[in-house]
């Protein structure tokens, strides 16, 4: 067996293990010889001639027996250590059932199979161990970067292509017409001054006018002006750039642009436009609503210019929840 192992060692195994085998064999031999010494000593026994000598011989016999026994003990220790060395390098800790007989196959190219299998199994064990550690650590430190659970669950899926910008004009007109019926105090005029993309001219009660530039059904630009401000330039062009000359409507324009981004949804574009227009409708009482928080009309000489995007309640800029 020892010869077999020595001869059948594949070249990938390091020479240290070979040395260990040699040491172990030497240790076995040493144990055997020392055990043989013990038996020989016992077989010779104690020779008795004279009484005085008998005691001496007795002492000698006991001394030689104890010496040989202690040498057996020492050699046995050496054998144990060499066996331990062998077991650590030989992969005795892993038992792969009857596949372990593979290493007894004398064919050289098949003998390495068992060692490779053990290596692979160890590697897999380590991967399992590390992944379980990793999972527990990650569960403890849960990094939530988005409230949108739908998005996180479907992260691996491919996102559908947004088509909100590419809606037929007829569909836009029907949709805006439907909205107009819902929003009673809001007048919506749909014009197309630059090609197929619609521009909504909105008049809200007797409070404000707004221009909403659409691309398909995506809101691209919002401008809010006073009820008595002109939406057209001197040469009868729709003026979508000049801001209102009143600071209150400049603020409302800023809030409307923020709300437009808030309501934006790449897939539910019609819902985004609908939500935005309902939100804008809450400005019909811009000058008459008191702030929900401080219950006053004026703060820094401005009325409550901000509207909550969920409840449509009026707040001053500095009173926002």
């Amino acid at each position: 067996m020892a010869q077999f192992i020595g001869g059948a060692q594949p070249p990938s195994i390091d020479p240290v293990s070979m040395e260990n085998v040699r040491q172990a064999l030497g240790a076995v031999r040493a144990v055997r010889s020392s055990v043989g010494d013990v038996f020989r000593t016992l077989a010779e026994g104690v020779r008795s001639s004279h009484e005085s000598e008998e005691r001496e011989k007795d002492q000698d016999f006991k001394g030689s027996l104890a010496h040989s026994l202690s040498s057996v003990h020492t050699k046995l220790r050496e054998l144990e250590t060499s066996v331990q060395n062998l077991s650590s390098t030989g992969g005795a800790g892993l038992s792969l059932g009857s596949t372990s007989h593979l290493c007894q196959d004398p064919t050289i190219d098949r003998t390495s199979l068992y060692v490779d299998m053990i290596k692979t199994h160890r590697w897999l064990d380590r991967v399992h161990e590390y992944t379980s550690h990793m999972a527990s650590v990650l569960q403890q430190n849960n990094l939530k970067r988005s409230n949108n659970m739908v998005f996180s669950n479907k992260r691996r899926q491919r996102l559908p292509i947004a088509t909100g910008h590419n809606v037929p004009p007829q569909h836009v007109e029907n949709f805006i017409g439907g909205l107009q019926r819902q929003l009673t105090d809001m007048t919506i005029d749909l014009v197309r001054p630059c090609g197929s993309n619609a521009v909504l001219k909105i008049t809200l009660a007797r409070t404000l006018k707004a221009i909403v530039v659409l691309r398909g059904l995506l809101i691209e630009w919002v401008l809010v002006k006073a009820y008595h401000e002109e939406l057209y330039t001197a040469d009868e062009q729709l003026d979508i750039w000049t801001p209102s000359r009143y600071k209150v409507f400049q603020k409302v324009t800023d809030h409307a642009n923020a709300a437009m981004l808030h309501f934006h949804s790449p897939n539910l574009h019609d819902l985004a436009v609908k939500s935005f227009l309902h939100w804008l409708q809450s400005y019909s009482t811009l000058f008459s609503d008191a702030c929900k928080r401080c219950n006053r009309h004026l703060m820094h000489n401005f009325p409550p210019t901000w509207r909550c995007v969920r409840t449509y309640e009026a707040y001053h800029e500095t009173c926002r929840p």
Partner: protein, 225 residues
Amino acid sequence: MGVVIVHMVPCSGPEALQSTADNLCRMIERIGGQRDGVFCVDCETYFNTSMGRTQHVLHDSEHPASVFSLLESGLCLVADANFDSLMNKLTPQLFTTKMGTKVECKGPRYQVEDFVLKVGTVTIGTSARGLLVECEYQPCPVTASCWELMRELMESLLGVPLNQPGPYLALRMREIYTPVDTIQQYMEHFNVLRKSNPVQAVSAPASGQSGGQTNQNAQTPTSKG
């Protein structure tokens, strides 16, 4: 053109007018008011000698190209600045005016964000009679919408609770505000101030001449009633 409220500030006497006006100006500057020139509203009163009617002709520095002509009935004519020269031509024959009856309201003008605040001392002839504060909120065209807003500002400035709007404005709370409404409010206050001192109050002269028809013709085409 936004909504304008003209409010008379109560004063203990003619001596206190200037100090009250100064205090108000300081208050306005404290809340962030930027002084932006002066303003003037004046009112000249003419008497139609043939029909015995009174006609007020007002100018407002906010509308320098317009002349407002008010009858006692409340009918208002908005005309170009040429209307003054027409009245001057008609004055000796058809209309008479009395010296020292011209009412003027003058003072500083302040801009506070979207508000325009004016503090004007009213003089009739040469004597100071009262103090008017004009508050305009430019972004809003309907009085009912922004009345509470303006009342809050005026109460914080004047320190006294503000009552309901004047009788003229109360009837037009839900209508789109026009410059004529400002003139009508000034006229209300000027009438009160004139009557406050019977010695200075205007009395109609008794010189009657024909020519009222011409006046009616002049008003009809542009009358805004």
